[in-house]
Symmetry: D2
Subunit: 374 residues, 4 copies
């Protein structure tokens, strides 16, 4: 095994510190042996590998919606959509993750842009995905033959390994946000991909108000007796803004009446869930909508794992670790693992924040932690 | 232990049959010894105790709504509601269960009746319960201080050990159906009961359109982030007819469009579920609404455990084992364990059937079986 | 429905008490109407049906092993074993359960007796079962072709719907205890039964020391990679006394060393579990072995559901509700639901108690309660 | 957000291919805009990010035990063990993972070495760990005060966040293998670490044959009634070789008798499991021992996720992807995600392979796949 001609990638240097060996010639010889045999001692790495608490490689960062939107529109004019590239999706690249298209170490967040009449070709992949619409309407996402319309405020989960395509049936371009677990799948090397039909039949380029999935699964607390098995991801393909908005308004009204419901005073929040289990919509991603009352604020909280937020409505101030930003509709920002997060709504109106995170991964593995610090 | 003065309740007689002992004097002496020591041999009992398939002690039976209603109204005139009797509830007594108030060996079904202005006092018990409203409106069920209005078609689950009371705020009497697992709790001897406050405060005798529970939990696929733990029974206290009706209509419309959704051709069905788990609303009772298209029929099915049905709307024919009845709105009937059941809607319109059963008990214990025979 | 010629089994009588109606002629007329329509009002039944806490129909009772054994031996002489009667099993009949062969409302406990060379024919049933051997050896229980020897102290679970037969390969008769959920299956009407082969082939009348199941599953913390799915009941067919005894001794020794492990001071206890889930061996029955140190005692405890105990070794005093007995090897007694239980070992030596109960039913349905009162 | 002085890490280049945009000046301008705004388009990345099937960055590789052991011994002579460096552990660095101490993208595998009388200081961390002993004895791993001896063939799981230290009580140095989920925790940024006591008290530097955990949990199918809650990781701290060896031998003997049990003909395998759940010992790592009969072979299999193997005994040939090696006792090798693996035992004797993998991560997230190709 030591006969490979390629030089070893291991490079070892004596480091100073408590519990570290003396930098003697013998140590240097030992390190050369390690390098040759592709070995790395823990004692030179422990600070980085085993920190007292998560030390994210990612940093807090904000992307402005107007800048994203403008570049996406520019791409709409010159970049085709079709087989090979598959999607006109432009991903957030956390500035501390080496230029990779990863918003956080586990999460992908991209703006996708479709011109009038355009189709994004059908494919499927094991990566879980969702769409969230901060503005516009007119695009249909066709999932296993079920056409789901997309409008402002709608949340459309897309469990792994389902065939899907997009079609812009409107006369205007449309942009929305895609969230996926691409970085997680990439690091853990667990992903599969297949291309689908080259063209959808007319019946799947539909104009129905409600998708099949909504007609089967969109009734509160009710499920078809023909489909009573638990499913790892939600069969409901659209969570409409009218419902989400009402649920948030109800929580704040209940708070006004002295009833429980909000997450903390002035802070309403709903989680999108899988009606077959009550758990998160997707095995790897948690998705929520938060509303902070005008002039109100969330608590300061940090948790294991990372999040991406998009401002859905209103304006205010958000603080992530040592960064603070004024935010407005459409702005996106990331909260790295274990960084404190809080948000304040402006006095002018409520602040609505869409959030997605990798929390289900840690909950499934019993390693989730949350700490409310204020 | 044989010094008890009370005579032994054991009575043994030699029985003829394959594998049975000769009825000799020695056998008689042995049986007298068994009786004295409170022992019963399997070989005299096995046919009854271990049948080839469930042989229900209960029989199929139908109760006519008009007769029930008339008797309940009569009770309304002369039977008070208050502490001690607790409820003006009149239970179906399966004719083959010895005059006990058990619709089936595990299920209680009663008509409850409340006069204008009356209150049924607050109490709680570990038996799980629900209300189903086949007609009328105006009563409030107050659960842990949350007043829930009741109207035709509404289904109101009531998990065990929650405080609850009823109040008729209308000017007319109101009747509805109570379903409970009283016989199951009774046989298994697992029930607790407590009386509550003597009088509800005015704030809990409310006129709000939606209960707190509906405002928190009545949004499809959404749950409050403040309440993300799984709960053994549903926190949603009302499943409204408008939603149930729409879900059934959607299934039949999907069938018309060639899409999956119905349970069998012409037969739509939804199950009431716990949004925190996707499972049945109550740990011991399954509750469903079925709609058979005009002129259509269900398949013939039998399953382990028993069911009670109430005709919610329409008319038609139902067959249970060897019994067949014409049924109309409000009629109640029971399907004993492993008896074949089917229903046909009249040509005039759809047949809507509310059903509850003890299936979750058997599913939890891995002993459920279903057989579709036609 | 009121045209049945059989008289109604419902009999109603006005009862005195708080919340009860006046015994007027109108009430009598109402009750006659209820009887005719097969209806029973809650207010006449609530005290029995909905007690403040479980009020078992069963009573504490003790059966002496020497009496049981003598009667079983007598049966061995004159009662054949074969198809039809199926087993020479003689069940405990709780004196307050109407002479039925039910030790408690949910549990069957019987002494089974097999003469040298005899075979109990193969069958299967959905009722779950186990054998526990208080003395003797030489019988083989053959489960799906796997012959499992039985010796003093061994516990042999027998999940529902597995083929099984017994064969006495020794020169002496052998007796053991059978525990089943027959009463529970009977009341809930969920049981199936099939007869098997008339004669087992020689290969299944074996003399191997360890059964196939023990060779696959009898290694602590290890499972075959070829069988990694969870199973509702244990695949391990014998839990040997050498292991049980050592586990109990270890707990008491740990206590002596100041380490945790015992259930309470001087009281060691192990539960027989399903290695594929860590849960109870059978979906409906909990089985445990308890050891009370010489001169020691258990705490006083009551719980929902009923138990049957057999003294495996030692002697002492047990108290169930208001009954107290001196007990010795082989004696059996029942603890009805919610009756306080405690045991004291004599000063001469430890008291070993085998126990089975219906607790998994209540745990599965979220209705289990335990109260330690002293 | 574009005011950061640091240059953007994003570098974009037009790529040729189906579905790719023309490399025009407009495209170059667009790409500069993307770079400035920290955006990366999917269409330039999709081949790497979303392959048809897992394309591991890692490569198959083999480390020879004699070389590892010699370097570890050399380290024993010159590298101290103490607070700061924490452990004299030397990790395998997959040659394709950039010189990082990662055997695979998710798994850490290291040789740990302790001189006579040495102590590795107490600490705890959320990373899950285990020890596996290919040779030697005399070291004690002290977990929360419970001293667990280590001997050849023993497997010692170490769930996250338990205090632990090591002590070499023997007169010889001792080496063993540590497996951890360090790379997974590192990428997902979910790890915590704390230092413990500086010195263990004498009572924890023990010489008992069996640890407390073994006395409580080491009895097949039995669990303490005092500890009946499910736990996310095993409470049993040692799985002894005598049990593992017997379980493997039993499977092969059953195969000889025509009974089921082996994974495939000639290939026995046991999985180390958590007795409280029957699932894997640790939430993130699967651990197994495999035995291939002399002259026999495993099937060819590939699966999502990566594995590390160590040859425990015997010799033979292993094939991973396109690499094939002759292996002998102690040799370690890695199987990257979705690479076919097979092993053949030499004719001289059985080949025993210890294996650990990240499969529980994928099973928990519903993304596990296994394919048996021959």
């Amino acid at each position: 095994m030591t006969t490979d001609l390629t030089p070893s990638p291991v490079r070892l240097h004596a480091v100073a510190g408590k519990g570290q060996p003396e930098p003697t010639p013998e140590l240097e010889q030992l390190y050369r042996g390690f390098e040759q045999e592709l070995l790395v001692p823990l004692w030179t790495q422990i600070g980085d590998l085993m920190p007292r608490q998560p030390q994210s490689k990612a940093v807090p960062h904000l992307w402005r919606w107007d800048r994203l939107k403008a570049l996406a529109a520019q791409a709409g004019a010159i970049v085709p959509v079709g087989r090979g590239g598959e999607r006109r999706a432009i991903a957030l690249a956390n500035p501390a993750l080496g230029g990779r298209p990863f918003a956080t170490p586990t999460l992908w967040a991209a703006i996708q842009y479709l011109m009038p009449g355009e189709d994004a070709p059908e494919h499927r992949h094991t990566q879980h995905a969702f769409r969230f619409v901060v503005e516009g309407e007119g695009v249909w996402t066709v999932v296993n033959g079920d056409a789901v319309r997309m409008s402002r405020g709608d949340f459309l989960p897309q469990a792994g390994w389902n065939w899907h395509a997009h079609h812009n049936a409107a006369t205007e371009p449309m942009a929305w946000i895609d969230g996926l677990d691409i970085p997680f799948s990439y690091y853990t090397e667990s992903q599969f991909f297949e291309v689908g039909r080259e063209k959808l039949p007319p019946a799947e380029r539909t104009t129905a108000e409600r998708s099949y999935s909504e007609r089967l699964w969109g009734h509160p607390g009710l499920r078809p007796v023909s489909m009573v098995q638990a499913q790892p991801a939600t069969p409901l393909l659209a969570y409409r803004w009218v419902d989400t908005d009402r649920a948030l308004a109800d929580q704040l009204a209940l708070e006004d009446e002295g009833q429980a419901g909000t997450l903390s005073p002035g802070h309403a929040a709903v989680r999108f869930t899988n009606p077959t289990t009550g758990a998160d919509v997707l095995p790897t991603m948690r998705t929520e909508m938060h509303r902070v009352r005008a002039g109100g604020a969330t608590r300061v909280q940090r948790e294991v794992g990372s999040s991406v937020f998009q401002v859905f409505d209103g304006s205010g101030t958000v603080t992530v670790g040592e960064r603070t930003w004024q935010v407005a509709r459409g702005d996106l920002f990331v909260v790295p693992s274990w960084q404190p997060f809080s948000a304040q709504a402006s006095a002018a109106g409520a602040l609505d924040l869409f959030r997605f995170s990798d929390a289900p991964i840690f909950e499934a593995l019993h390693s989730h932690r949350v700490q409310v610090t204020v």
